[in-house]
């Protein structure tokens, strides 16, 4: 029986006191087969079991494994059965056993190897019994069965933790020291009376000295606060008036008729009436005479309530559309454009090459006039082919399908777009394009190729201008001009004549009808086939077209001629004051004018058959290349030799310093003309011969183009070279524009034209990049202010007067100095001498008075030189 106890002991020690044997058995069972010293495993046969009354599972069970055996019984058993007794191996121990009772434990689980074991020593017996059997002390049997399972307190085995605790623990290393202090006064000091005296120092205290060795920083401070509302109780007392809705319904008190009669008859009433009547009548009269409550201040103002000091012109223009054509407009600049006179939303734009000075003049490249429509802003609707760059073109006023243009090479070109007018109409916004297969190829229509119209007629080079045509205008349908330059009536009331001007110093008049001259030549040309022209409208003009009338512009004062760039005619409105025959003709014409005439059938009537119109203003305002504005008559006079000669211009003013780019009549005033030069613009009144009535201040940027507004008589738009547009209001200020729209375009603005309809107002701006921008004009620029026309008229009159006044004064001043010069040297020095002497005397007096007088001649000489 090798005693191996360590682990089992610890484990049992660990669980000592826990009670039941089973629990203790299990850890022991796992460990090892040994058994402690003081027990002895026994095998007891069933006979022995019966004898001692400890049959397994009957008398002793797992729960009650303890059986106390009497020693005497065991010894008797020895005697009876001697060697056979089961207790024989422990015979000696039993004999030596001091106690009377022996504990036999049923080892059910064979922990110690056998089914029973005998506890050898009484201490162990006690121990086991106490542990196990304490809850049942009354049965000695149970008490005998010691509970092995109760854990015995085992000595603690150190694992090292106590060392840590040792380290951490705080223990007194030595005894506490006890010091006893006894402070007391010396005995003799007890008792005497106290003596008080002032202390030497003001403060007697025992301040703590700050120990520099350490300082404790207060890191955390407990702080508490409590908010207390400031309560303030007060009370008031009001005379509470309860409001209540009260309504009454009443009928007016009335007098009955009798009562009324009664009153009317009464004396007091009559008295009253007498008194009152006179004052009432007086008041009524006063009323009718004069209105005393008129607000004169308000009545003086010319502005309405809405616009006090003309409204702010908005800072930006609203862009409506931008028209560019990728194919044809790339790299080109727009020289001019025109709104279609009848079709809404159609614009014709002339595209020209951007040429520098060096490029050759007559490079033949395809130039086009492009028609745009509102419905499609990036594709041209129609193209007009030109023989060269077009600088000016116009729609015919009486037939918008005829367009005349002036070329770079001096030719005048005609187009007829009647074939495409339907197409153009269809491109108007809001209308469906009618499918017109007659005019187009089906393929073309599918591919959406823009139709190209070639010019119908072009004047032959030898008959044309020698320089680019810069301005083209149709004569109004109200009169014609004969080949002698006399205005005559226009029988058909259609525009058939065109006036062109060019810097080759001539103005030419052309007629689009069949001319009477050159009939033979015409016949010849009729045989030739006109090249590429779809239409025969102007076939009669091919090769033979020539101006029927030419005007040259000789300079005033010097030889040479003016080079006109732009001109302006006066539109003549026909006054019906003819004879009866003429009126009949007019009526007929009124009917006929509905029908678009066929130009080839028209013939220039003989000059003699037409009645001359006397009241046509044949004078033109012309702007020249060198910045002069000429007022000239186109009628020629018969000079000495009997031939017609151009008359010298009536007036010429050099208001602009360089190219004049616009000469335009105001749409509101017949006699007001706007001319724009490179640096300034001027306003002229026809009939005022002294000069322009208004001249604007010079601007820094070149003014490239300008126009009147169509709706507001005082508004001008001026386009500048840097791409900005200035809006000038003549009534507001003349020193600067009312609004400058900067950077409307990135390049020079080449043309501005406004257009109005009842609903919309547009301003179209063309620039040098080939783009045509359309802006919607803000209301403030479209709606005229109250009395604008009359104010403007007054303003012009004022300006005119001022001009006249200035001229007059200039004349006066021109005359006067001649007088002044001879008088001056005689008169003035005399006066001055006298004055000087007086001054010297005064000076002396003052200096004497001050006591500073030092009679030094130098001071006098000094003042002499001062003179």
């Amino acid at each position: 029986m090798p005693p191996k106890r360590s682990k089992s002991a610890t484990s049992s020690a660990g669980s000592k006191g826990k009670g039941k044997g089973k629990r203790i058995q299990s850890p022991v069972h796992e460990t090892k087969p040994g058994h402690p010293d003081d027990i002895f495993p026994l095998v007891l046969t069933s006979a022995t079991q019966k004898l001692f009354g400890c049959c397994s599972d009957v008398d002793v069970t797992g729960e009650r494994p303890y059986k106390l055996l009497k020693k005497d019984d065991v010894i008797k058993d020895f005697k009876t059965r001697a060697a056979v007794s089961d207790f024989s191996p422990v015979k000696q121990i039993v004999l030596d056993y001091p106690d009377d009772d022996l504990l036999l434990v049923f080892d059910r689980d064979f922990i110690y190897g056998q089914s029973f074991y005998l506890v050898l020593t009484p201490e162990a017996k006690e121990r086991i019994l106490n542990v196990a059997g304490s809850p049942e002390p009354e049965t000695p049997q149970v008490f005998e069965d010691e509970a092995i399972k109760t854990p015995e307190p085992e000595p603690w085995i150190s694992l090292g933790s106590e060392q840590e605790i040792e380290e951490e623990s705080v223990r007194e290393t030595r005894e506490k020291l006890l010091f006893t202090y006894k402070l007391s006064e010396v005995r003799r000091k007890f008792g005497p009376p106290a003596v008080f005296s002032d202390s030497k120092t003001a403060v007697t205290g025992c301040p703590s000295c700050p120990d520099s060795r350490f300082s404790i920083k207060l890191m955390l401070r407990d702080f508490g606060c409590r908010a207390v509302p400031r309560l303030h109780s007060s009370n008031t007392q009001t005379k509470g008036k309860l409001t209540s809705d009260v309504s009454t319904q009443y009928t007016p008190r009335e007098f009955s008729n009798e009562e009324k009669e009664e009153i009317l008859r009464s004396e007091s009433f009559l008295n009253f009436f007498e008194k009152v009547t006179s004052s009432m009548l007086k008041a009524l009269q006063q009323e009718t005479i004069m209105n005393v409550f008129v607000d004169r201040w308000k009545a003086m103002g010319t502005t309405s309530e809405d616009e006090y000091l003309s409204p702010e012109v908005p800072k930006h223009l609203m862009l409506f559309k931008v028209f560019t054509e990728e194919k044809y407009a790339k790299g080109k600049k727009i020289s001019t454009f025109n709104w279609h006179p009848t079709l809404h939303g159609v614009i014709a734009v002339a595209l020209t090459e951007k040429r520098t000075e060096d490029s050759p003049m007559f490079e033949s490249e395809d130039s086009f006039i492009v028609f745009y429509s509102f419905s499609d802003s990036s594709h041209a609707q129609l193209l007009l082919e030109c023989p060269g760059d077009i600088f000016a073109f116009e729609f015919c006023p009486s037939d918008p399908n005829i367009i005349v243009g002036g070329c770079r090479n001096g030719q005048v070109v005609l187009w007829d777009v009647s074939a495409h007018s339907i197409h153009l109409k269809g491109t108007q916004p809001g209308e469906k394009a009618p499918f017109n297969t007659a005019t187009f190829d089906v393929d073309d229509h599918k591919e959406k190729n823009t139709p190209v119209v070639r010019y119908c007629a072009a004047s032959p080079i030898e008959n044309s201008h020698k320089a680019p045509i810069t301005d083209v205008q149709w004569l109004p349908p109200t009169f014609e001009v004969t080949n002698r330059g006399l205005p005559v009536e226009n029988k058909y009331n259609i525009s058939t004549q065109v006036v062109t001007c060019s810097p080759d110093c001539s103005i030419m008049f052309w007629d689009v009808r069949v001319s009477n001259v050159n009939r033979s030549a015409r016949k010849q040309s009729a045989d030739q086939k006109a090249p590429y022209s779809f239409l025969n409208t102007f076939k009669h003009l091919v090769d033979t077209w020539r101006p029927f009338y030419k005007v040259s512009l000789p300079m005033i004062g010097t030889t040479g001629k003016y080079a006109p760039l732009k001109f302006c005619l006066e539109p003549y409105i026909c006054v019906a004051n003819h004879t009866a025959g003429a009126t009949e003709a007019e009526n007929e014409n009124a009917v006929n004018s509905e029908v678009i005439p066929d130009f080839s059938q028209l013939r220039v009537p003989l000059a003699e058959t037409l009645t001359p119109l006397e009241d046509v203003n044949t004078k033109l305002f012309i702007g020249t290349e060198s910045g002069e504005i000429i007022y000239s008559d186109w009628k020629k006079v018969i000079d000495n030799s009997g031939s017609l000669e151009s008359v010298k211009p009536l007036h010429c003013f050099n208001t602009h310093y360089w190219l004049v780019n616009t000469v335009q009549r105001s749409p509101f005033f017949k006699d007001i003309i706007l001319t724009i030069g490179n640096w300034n613009f001027a306003i002229w009144k026809e009939g005022v011969t002294g000069g322009p009535i208004i001249v604007s201040p010079n601007s820094e940027q070149w003014c490239t183009v300008g126009c009147w507004s169509l709706t507001r008589p005082a508004i001008l738009f001026i386009g500048k070279e840097d791409g900005s547009i200035e809006v000038w209001n003549l009534l507001e200020k003349m020193i600067e524009p009312v609004r400058v729209y900067a950077q409307v375009s990135n390049a020079k603005i080449t043309c501005i034209k406004p257009w109005t309809s009842s609903k919309q107002n547009f301003l179209a701006v063309a620039d040098e990049l080939g783009m045509l921008c359309m802006f919607e004009m803000p209301k403030t620029l479209c709606v005229p202010s109250r009395n604008e026309i009359s104010n403007l008229e007054k303003y012009f009159v004022v300006e005119e007067d001022r001009l006249q006044d200035r001229l007059r004064r200039k004349e006066q001043r021109a005359k006067e100095p001649k007088r002044m010069d001879c008088d001056k040297p005689l008169k003035l020095p005399v006066d001055e001498e006298q004055e000087y002497k007086n001054y010297l005397k005064l000076e002396e007096q003052i200096l004497k008075g001050l006591g500073l007088l030092s009679a030094t001649p130098e001071s006098h000489t000094f003042s002499h030189t001062h003179l």
């Binding site: 007016p252 008190r253 009335e254 008859r265 009433f269 008194k275 009547t277 009524l284 009718t288």
Partner: protein
């Protein structure tokens, strides 16, 4: 009676007179040339106004008294001649 009528006609014939109302001191119309509803309305309102105006004048200076009151509006002018017992109201359209 006839004189009253005649005088009223005279007043009526002046330029622009739209209507005449005579009311007593309590605001009850006695004679009128307008329709009943307007008369009653004018009478009630103007009576109060005259009372107020009169008290204003007399408050400022007790010796003073209101002799004539004219109300000019955008569309017309109302002239009131007050007396101790009666008021005469004339509505006129001023000639502008």
């Amino acid at each position: 009676m006839a004189e009253v009528e005649e005088t009223l006609k005279r007043i009526q014939s002046q330029n622009g007179v739209q209507g005449i109302i005579i009311i007593n001191s309590e605001g009850i119309p006695i004679k009128t040339t307008l329709d009943n509803a307007s008369t009653v309305q004018y009478a009630g309102l103007i009576h109060q106004l005259v009372m107020k105006a009169r008290s204003t004048v007399r408050d400022i200076d007790p010796q003073n008294d209101l002799t004539f009151l004219r109300i000019r509006s955008k569309k017309n002018e109302i002239m009131i001649a007050p007396d101790k017992d009666y008021f005469l109201i004339v509505i006129q359209n001023p000639s502008d």
